[in-house]
Symmetry: C2
Subunit: 238 residues, 2 copies
DNA sequence: GCAACGCCTTGACTCATGTCAAAATCAGCG
DNA sequence: CGCTGATTTTGACATGAGTCAAGGCGTTGC
């Protein structure tokens, strides 16, 4: 590794965008970028496997990566989908643990690998970075807590919760009602909700039967946002 | 609040034992202890409720606190039981969020409440503390990831996993086999595994039928530790 | 226009788990 | 010794959800 090789501009931009070290100086980012190992991964390539020692972590430069747990029976739970400018496997690395989940490229992707020590050095040199790392980690714990709670709901409720959040984020008013794109295929959505396509399909059918929404291919038309909120909060319906 | 009132020795000791600021100086700990508000809570007292703004966090000085999520149908998922010297609700507080779970006193307990700013001040003054806070948070994320994976297993597997870990921790060799105390009542164990007493009872009956263990009131005699490990890893059996 | 493929949907079935109710076990305690 | 209350266990039952298999629908390519 040439120590002073000029860092790729896309890598620098992705690192600059990363919330872990929002407070870091540009110089530090440049140095970090220069130490990165860039990997070009085709869709489906494995990036890390459960159980490996987490001596490095990554930032997604382009494309998307998927963090998931593969069960013995082949079922998949997707923990998160990581996009450009977001950190990957940083937690396990900071904890000095092994990767608790698998990672693969959900699309063709460019990944910048960084060593754990590089981050520790950055923290030591720029104390403000510690604050943003802490905020990021704390936010993750809060999210994971929400995941645990969501997994305890039945599937229609999980769907409702997802759609409610998505309505707020990308809902578009139309004459028919609020149009919300699912943002992924239904099979992918099923996995990210911890279920299988068949069950998701039935959940949609039920919500449709209740008049809450209509399905239009990759979008849904929400008729009753309040019902989604109610169903997704875990309060029993009927 | 008298600013320079001498801190209670038990409070100082609990804070000193807290892993969040292992690296902090004794002076800083004293200062933190002096700023604490001490609460004496009887068993069952609510300490914090889901949804409240997390502007403070706590350290358990004596007794135990239980962090749990109460579902609409009354089912309980226990996230963790926090004992003396351990931080409580620190995560939500660091994230600047609302409490994602409820907390109550599992036994009579003494709790030292600290303001969020007190911790931020400590971090700013003693940068090494940042490192231990980061390590703690990262460890939590890893644990929660494990919880999510465990919840995806069926109940006998969760029981096996719990017993396997417990065997390693408190197992005692006897002529009959490895004696392991459950460490809590079966009803409590059921809740901490995310299920109900009836189902737990059936899981024990099944493990007993398979010759893996025998139940002796609040203890179990494990005959086949390997089987526990196998069942708890999520690999299908039979 | 037709065939092939992927994605989605539907139906029939099985199984694990929660619920309700009742019986059983156990631990104090008079 | 026997009562009483809490905990635990067992049985019967309902239900949510996964599996397997078949069929529909839309897209792509020849």
């Amino acid at each position: 590794m040439t120590p002073v090789r000029p860092a790729r501009p896309d890598v620098v931009a992705a690192l600059r965008a990363c919330r872990l070290w929002r407070a870091a100086t540009d110089t530090a980012i440049e140095r970090l970028a220069a130490s990165a190992t860039v990997e070009q991964a085709a869709r489906g390539t494995a990036l890390a496997s459960e159980g490996e020692v987490a001596d490095r972590f990554a930032v997604v430069v382009a494309g998307k990566a998927r963090v998931y747990h593969l069960q013995a029976d082949g079922r998949i739970i997707t923990f998160e989908t990581v996009e450009s400018g977001e950190p990957l496997a940083a937690v396990a690395s900071l904890a000095g643990a092994r990767y608790p989940a698998n990672i693969d490229a959900a699309t063709d992707a460019t990944i910048a690998w960084l060593s754990r020590d590089a981050l520790f050095t950055l923290i030591a040199e720029e104390p403000d970075v510690a604050r943003s790392v802490i905020a990021d980690l704390a936010g993750r714990v809060v999210n994971l807590t929400a995941v645990v709670q969501t997994l305890a709901l039945d599937v229609p409720a999980r769907v409702a919760r997802y759609l409610f959040q998505r309505s707020l984020a990308v809902g578009e008013a139309t004459p028919e009602g609020l149009r919300v794109s699912l943002g992924m295929t239904k099979t992918e959505l099923a996995h990210s909700l911890g279920t299988v396509p068949e069950t998701l399909s039935r959940a949609f059918a039920r919500l449709k039967g209740d008049g809450v929404l209509d399905v239009r291919g990759p979008d849904v038309i929400v008729h009753d946002v309040g019902a989604l909120a109610r169903l997704g909060s875990g309060y029993a319906e009927e």
